[in-house]
Symmetry: C2
């Protein structure tokens, strides 16, 4: 049923819809998809990705949105599925280049508003949309559809386009018993299925996992068990945006007669936004301030905070290492890490758990208790979504290659022919016209590293240097030479960082100096005439020497001053 | 029941047994325990630890064994529980300082012999000991007791000492159906319990995990399912020392008419040792050579290799990225990662899985199939061990703090009073005399970093520098000045590595140069007279500038040449 591959963008052909994931289909995070038809373009989400372990010093990564900027006059708006960073974190970077309206549900916009304020982007038009409302953006009619996820107010989209209906799930799970009673909108998704959906894009994050993801309410049972027997303070770390989790902690705290303290900037800010918007239901006299903590018996207190990923500057980390001003952990305290241990963070989290145990606390975490559930659909739920929407074509999104493969296999099982399943990479284009769907070339895409205030000034070459410096450090060789003769008039001095502990390695340093002196002696006049040749020679001699004697490859930088 | 804490080593008191873990009780790995009584000392295991994520550039870590070397004349021998690196990897480093006999089971010694040869330590006396054999080492009578673990020929120890019997489990699980039919020696452990055991040291690695660890044979079922439907080649990556896993692959290969190729140095070496010692049972005509691979149909082939942890230079990694000479992955191939994803390695492993899927292979790994079981006892097994041995005192070993806490709780549940449970850190001493057991001071201990050929020349300060370099790189500021006036005669030149991509950041570089020039102009004569004061000034000005403008903290090194 596939049309021919056109080998390039058909920008001029008005009857073609281009679906272009700019991020989120080769990684978990930096989700961003462009829909383009004729002179109209909309953007679904603009997320960041947290750095992988070899992206040294990088704060986060955003998608390269050059293609959007090149077509800036076409952009009719950005629609947001929910308020998590991996769907909204690139927004400030996009919006400072491009002033377009943003559409999202109230909580999503509440969180985004805060973020835009920090970036002095208050002028951006934010439009609040409720589930089942429809927004018209150029040729696109975007209907917001409620889904359940680990943040409230999540939606997917049903998008009417000239070539038919496109459904995007956003991040979702099928929580049969959501904390706020707001079910996923099964009817809407099934109606799309009934009326005919051309393309489904669906969340692949948990496509490797069998069965169903547990309901958020399951966590409450674990909390109740812990609260029922706890004699001391309870400290709970979770993601600041997980409003339902916070609601459940508060519900159980009230049930067991404990008052709640919030500690940490993000958890206070997010809770305030959720309270203002009515997404948290809190009885009177539930809160206490951090400075009131000492006035209450330990068994009447719950602290909600962040730091569940072992972040070094977080409240939990400071509590664990006795660096927190008002909370000192002691015997009888119970600390609950109510979150997934994200791969890559286990060692930091493990260290914090060890510190807390050492100080006498009991620590409860994912590995030993059911104090967390995922926000993403597992295999059975993904199949159900496919069965509801019954799309003609399917594109797995939100995942690395293996997640897309697993999701594609599920789609095949539900009866979608393999030839109708499209696995795209970031920047690849899926072209849909009436009666034909095919991959159609590629647009500019990639990963932009954000490091401090720098966006894009750290490139792969810089990261390669950082990895090299991280592995074996740097050795500077300082030499002053007489310009004509090449005779050494000062040095060689050796300065190293991250290479060896110099106080204990005087012998190594002496050997290196001697080697430099000998190398310089043997240089012929041609080399002496060219500083860069001297540098190259010293570098190559030292490199070989250090590899042979020490099996190390520090960065070697000869610095030559001519006198 | 505890005696007083003596606050120091009673080296002169002959009636005291000192139990000193030098490693393995604050970490997973680097297992090493000393028993000392009067003029006699024995060492149980001498293992290494793989580096934690912030130990940049470190190859591995070994325990500081200064205390052993200070008492070298006392050492009667080293007994080894099994052949894994975390129990034998520090041996070459210890044995090149100390020539003492080593005792182990045949496979353990087979693996150690290989390792000692690489370090030119063939002169060390290796004594083969079978389970239930007793070795007398000074006042100690050490009985070897068979246990089951993820390597064959593992043992624990029953050690008769003048103050009573000490039991050390080594690494173990209670495999009810071991591949070679060799059960753990339940009788011996229960006999120790019956006759009275003073102290049990037991493996805490899996003390967080509920229930029982599955039998190694469970993996076979998963293999059979995969082999039964596989139409292409099967490539299995596992730990080279997991002889039972290799045996099972071969058994299933024979069952399904496939021939076996080994690929990778360590898997070939270990298999050869196991074959020579009779630990592998292989029917004739099972093997083929790597270069014969092309002569057989895909469905008659199994490749066994290493690289299950995503190690970049491993065979599997090279296969996944098309860099392997003879094995190119293709559609229809099945790749099985038959190993645990060790925390910290998930991202590298994930990348390899993505690469393999991309090349058309099907990939089967821990998350999606039961193709691996742990080698360590879970909670129920740990309690059973405690019930068998019924020790008066208990010391959890092989674990981080949280593992020891969980294990201690299990011991309490089995009826050991809390006051009889001792949680020691590396280097702490447990002193046992008749009728009294107590912590008694500390000996020198710590972690020695091995980096290339360097042992101990990388210390924490060097690692701090590496972390800093890794995070934000380094900025060199080169200036030639006139000695008397401080006037700049050459430069400032800015050279950076791992900081910014200079081609795209000319503005930053120019700003930095200007700042240096202005700073130099304002220096008063006192500062100009002292090069280190100039350097300090430039460093502090640039540090503040880069923090404010870029939110980065590169290492800043002003280098000043006086002319």
């Amino acid at each position: 049923m596939n049309g021919p591959n056109n080998g390039g963008l058909q920008k001029t052909v008005n009857s073609v819809l281009s679906v272009i994931p700019l991020g989120g289909v080769e990684e978990i995070g930096m989700n961003m998809t462009v829909l383009e038809y004729g002179e109209d373009m909309i953007i679904i989400d603009a997320g960041l990705m947290f750095p992988e372990e070899d992206m040294l010093g990088i704060d986060f990564v955003i998608p390269d949105f050059t293609y959007i900027l090149e077509n800036r006059e076409k952009v009719r708006g950005i629609v947001l599925s929910h308020g998590h960073e991996d769907h909204t974190g690139a927004l400030p970077f996009l919006l400072r280049e491009l002033n377009v309206p943003v559409y999202g549900t109230p909580l999503t916009l509440g969180l985004v508003r805060e973020k835009l304020r920090e970036h002095n982007l208050e002028h951006i038009e934010l439009n609040s949309v409720l589930p089942r409302e429809v927004v018209t953006l150029g040729v696109f009619e975007v209907e917001f559809i409620r889904v359940t996820h680990s943040i409230v107010d999540g939606v997917g989209f049903g998008i009417k386009t000239p070539v038919g209906l496109i459904v995007h799930t956003g991040d979702f799970k099928l929580d049969p018993t959501p904390v706020d009673g707001q079910l996923m909108d099964f009817h809407k998704f099934s109606e799309y299925g009934e009326n005919g959906t051309v393309l489904l894009m669906s969340d692949s994050t948990n496509a490797e996992k069998g069965g169903f993801t547990f309901s958020e309410k399951e966590v409450r049972r674990a909390f109740e068990d812990i609260f029922a027997t706890a004699k001391g303070r309870i400290i709970i770390a979770t993601f600041a945006s997980n409003i339902h989790r916070i609601q459940q902690v508060i519900d159980v705290a009230v049930m067991f007669g404990r008052k709640v303290v919030l500690s940490g900037k993000s958890v206070i800010a997010n809770t305030q936004i959720a309270l203002d918007l009515g997404y948290l239901k809190i009885p009177q006299n539930t809160w206490m301030r951090l400075d009131e903590l000492k006035n209450f018996p330990d068994n009447e207190v719950v602290v909600i905070t962040t730091g569940s990923q072992g972040e070094p500057m977080s409240v939990l980390s400071r509590i664990a290492t006795d660096e927190h001003k008002s909370i000192k952990v002691k015997e009888g305290d119970i600390v609950i890490l109510s979150a997934k241990m994200i791969p890559g963070n286990e060692q930091s989290i493990g260290r914090i758990i060890n510190h807390l145990f050492r100080r006498g606390a009991d620590v409860i975490y994912e590995k030993v208790s059911e104090i967390h559930v995922s926000g993403h659909a597992s295999k059975e739920e993904l199949k159900l979504m496919l069965n509801l929407v019954k799309p003609k074509y399917f594109m797995p999104v939100h995942g690395e290659f293996r997640h897309k493969i697993y999701h594609a296999r599920l789609a095949e099982k539900t009866g979608i022919p393999k030839s109708n399943i499209f696995i795209l990479d970031d920047g690849e284009v899926l072209e849909i016209s009436e009666g034909s769907v095919a991959k159609g070339g590629e647009v500019t895409s990639g990963r932009i590293y954000v490091d401090g205030k720098g966006v894009g000034d750290v490139e792969d070459m810089v990261l390669r240097d950082r990895r090299r410096l991280a592995h074996d450090g740097i050795v500077l060789v300082l030499i002053g030479i007489e310009k004509l003769t090449g005779n050494i008039v000062s040095g060689p001095d050796i300065i190293s960082r991250g290479f060896v502990f110099e106080d204990a390695s005087q012998e190594t340093i002496t050997d290196v100096k001697e080697l430099v002196v000998n190398t310089m002696k043997e240089l012929d006049s041609e080399i002496i005439a060219d500083k860069s040749l001297i540098q190259a020679k010293i570098r190559s001699v030292l490199k070989k020497y250090l590899r042979n004697t020490m099996e190390r490859k520090p960065m070697i930088m000869p610095i030559i001053f001519e006198v």
